[in-house]
């Protein structure tokens, strides 16, 4: 619709410009015509008129010349007629230079011819009159001068009416041109007014549209704002879910390791208890034999045979060995159950659902739990050394910090395993804690291959991973950073030496995140 409108405007403007242009050219033609009339026709007409007057006067003078008696009077009349004739001569010269058509030249030629006749006749009459031949003079005036003048006047009149006609024609054309120019002027003015009105309408319309769009944009911006804040809330929720999911993933990945860790003590506790149960039966039989021996001794009967049988039974049971093995088995069972209990406790503490409030946490204990849970990840590839300093309790979300710590320890184990490639010497993972002013620091150092310089600025990006599929989803460090930096207002930094290892450092404000 806008295109059609534009086209319409273009046509309108082109039409107006065309009309305006033709009007202007007509104006200039009118101007030319008027100039022609004023400068050429009009003076000629005026001159012709004046010349005609002079001729009429000369005609009268000629008749008077026939009537006057005195010489002086005659001379005066001849003088006047001469002066008039000179003026007429000068007029004719002017006109003669300025004849612009064949018709004009012909008409003027007639004037010149008749004038010649008039001048000749007049000269004859004057000479006669001056010579005192009054009768002859009068004769010439009546018979030649007056008719010649009449003819001259007619010739003049013809020329005059021609000029007059030309002038009238020019004036008429100019008037017509003026009228039509005025019409086109009116058209241009009305058209311009219509155009201006349409333009105003259009502009108003477009302004309306623009204001509408502005309002719409404002509404949209508000809607976008609302959507954005909803989005941000959703993101925060998603982040929480992601953290939970990563935690589950980490725990899930650790689950088989933890199962293995529990399996081992279960295996030997089970073996040991079965052994104890079995030998308890044997020992109960042996005790029975001892009871019988005691009874025989107390009865004063023969005890020797029973004692010999007992010795054989002791031998068969390897009693001396059992006396050593039974307490060992007992101790092993206790150790194994302790190990299981430790793992379960660590899992329980680690698996704390996210608390909404921060609570004081013994970081060193959290480190111990983390190492217990992750043991299966590192025990085959690295030794772990802990260097736990004296720490005040730190206000934090225990579950989140445990998760961050676990991610760092698992990464350290993977880095060492990667560097060993199944063979090489065992690596070392050092976990240290330190009290540093208002901060508690935990460092996790490994003797793995280090982080290549080229990827150092990407390791905290979500989904960035160098691990093979199934071993890491690229969330570990991103979550650790979110937990430490965003949730706790702490810092998570690292130093890495290619070929020698990496140290991650967590710094947590002891008093908790500044509000």
């Amino acid at each position: 619709m806008s295109a059609k409108l534009s086209l319409g405007f273009a046509v309108l403007v082109a039409g107006l410009v065309g009309i305006g242009w033709s009007g202007l050219s007509r104006m200039s033609r009118i101007n030319d015509d008027l100039e022609h009339i004023v400068k050429r026709r009009w003076p000629n007409v005026r001159i012709a008129e004046e010349a005609l007057d002079l001729m009429n006067e000369n005609s009268r003078i000629s008749l008077e010349m026939c009537l006057v008696e005195g010489r002086d009077e005659l001379a005066t009349l001849i003088d006047r007629q001469e002066r008039n004739r000179e003026r007429i001569t000068s007029f004719m010269k002017r006109i003669g230079q300025d004849l612009d058509s064949v018709e004009a030249r012909e008409l003027f030629g007639a004037v010149v011819v008749s004038r010649q006749r008039y001048v000749e006749s007049f000269t004859g009459a004057r000479q006669a009159l001056q010579a005192g031949q009054r009768e002859r003079g009068r004769q010439i005036v009546r018979a030649e001068v007056v008719p010649a003048l009449d003819e001259l006047r007619r010739a003049w009149r013809a020329y005059f009416s021609f000029e007059n006609q030309l002038m009238n024609q020019a004036a008429e054309t100019s008037a017509e041109n003026y009228q039509s120019t005025r019409r086109s002027g009116v058209v241009v003015i009305v058209g311009s007014a219509v155009f201006a009105m349409l333009l105003a309408l259009l502009v108003t319309h477009h302004l309306d549209i623009a204001f509408g769009q502005l309002r719409h944009a404002k509404d949209q911006a508000e809607a976008t704002n609302r959507a954005l804040s909803a989005e941000m809330q959703a993101r925060a929720r998603m982040e929480l879910q992601l953290r939970q999911a990563q935690k589950l993933e980490a725990v899930g990945r650790l689950a088989s390791g933890v199962a293995h860790e529990i399996n081992t003590p279960v295996q030997f506790v089970n073996d040991s208890v079965h052994f104890l149960q079995e030998v308890l039966g044997d020992l109960t039989g042996l005790l029975q034999q001892y009871a019988e021996l005691r009874a025989a001794v107390l009865d004063g009967g023969s005890a020797e045979e029973r004692a010999r049988a007992l010795a054989a039974a002791e031998q068969a049971l390897d009693l001396s060995l059992l006396q050593k093995r039974i307490p060992e088995a007992m101790q092993r069972s206790i150790d194994g159950l302790g190990r299981i209990a430790g793992i379960v406790r660590a899992m329980k503490e680690f698996g704390h659902p996210d608390e909404t409030e921060m609570a004081p946490l013994d970081l060193n204990r959290a480190v111990g739990n983390t190492l217990t849970i992750a043991r299966h990840e590192y025990r085959y590839v690295a030794d772990v050394r802990t260097d736990l300093g004296e720490l005040p309790e730190v206000r934090c979300h225990a579950g989140q910090i445990g998760q961050a710590l676990l991610n760092l320890v698992v990464n350290a184990a993977h880095a060492v395993a990667e560097a060993r490639r199944g063979e090489g010497p065992r690596g070392l993972i050092t976990v240290a804690t330190r009290h540093e002013g208002a901060f508690a620091e935990i460092s996790v150092a490994d003797t793995g291959g280090g982080i290549p310089a080229a990827i150092r600025d990407r390791i905290f990006d979500p989904f960035f991973t160098t691990k093979e599929v199934g071993r890491g989803t690229g969330q570990g460090l991103a979550i650790a950073r979110a937990v430490v930096v965003e949730r706790h207002g702490g810092e998570l930094t690292f130093e890495s030496d290619e070929g020698r290892g990496t140290t991650f450092l967590i710094r947590l404000p002891i008093a908790g995140r500044a509000a």
């Binding site: 088989s256 081992t264 295996q267 073996d271 040991s272 088995a329 092993r332």
Partner: protein, 125 residues
């Protein structure tokens, strides 16, 4: 019948001790030897003949699958049993290719005895 010679390999000493105690009743029929790693196990195998090797899969240094491969090459007559709590599929598949039997951890006596005795003509009870 001579005593059957069995070599248990596990990086956890307490697991080995537990197995020794579990088999207490069969101490007259079985000669039990223990190694805490793959290299120690190979050393023991070179010193005297064994009937069975029972090995854990995940161990520091040489893992169980590698050990059993070496045993298969060096001592093809020795029966190879896996005793493991391992659940990782890839490790399991590799190990099962070179093993004659598998016993999951934790195991009880009868299962262990059956694995050790299968195909040997040796009574399980």
């Amino acid at each position: 019948m001579s005593r059957r010679r069995i070599l248990f390999v596990d990086d956890e000493l307490q697991v080995l001790e537990g197995l020794r105690d579990l088999l207490w009743r069969h101490r007259r029929q079985l000669e039990l030897h223990f190694a805490t790693g793959g290299n120690a196990a190979l050393l023991a195998l070179r010193q005297k003949p064994f009937d069975v090797v029972v090995a854990d899969l995940r161990m520091p240094g040489m893992d169980g699958a590698t050990l059993l491969e070496r045993v298969q090459q060096e001592h093809p007559g020795v029966r190879r049993i896996i005793l493991s709590g391992e659940a990782e599929r890839a490790t399991m598949q590799r190990a099962l290719g070179v093993a004659d039997g598998f016993v999951g951890k934790p195991c009880d006596l009868s299962v262990l005895l059956a694995a050790i005795a299968t195909g040997s003509g040796w009574p399980t009870q």
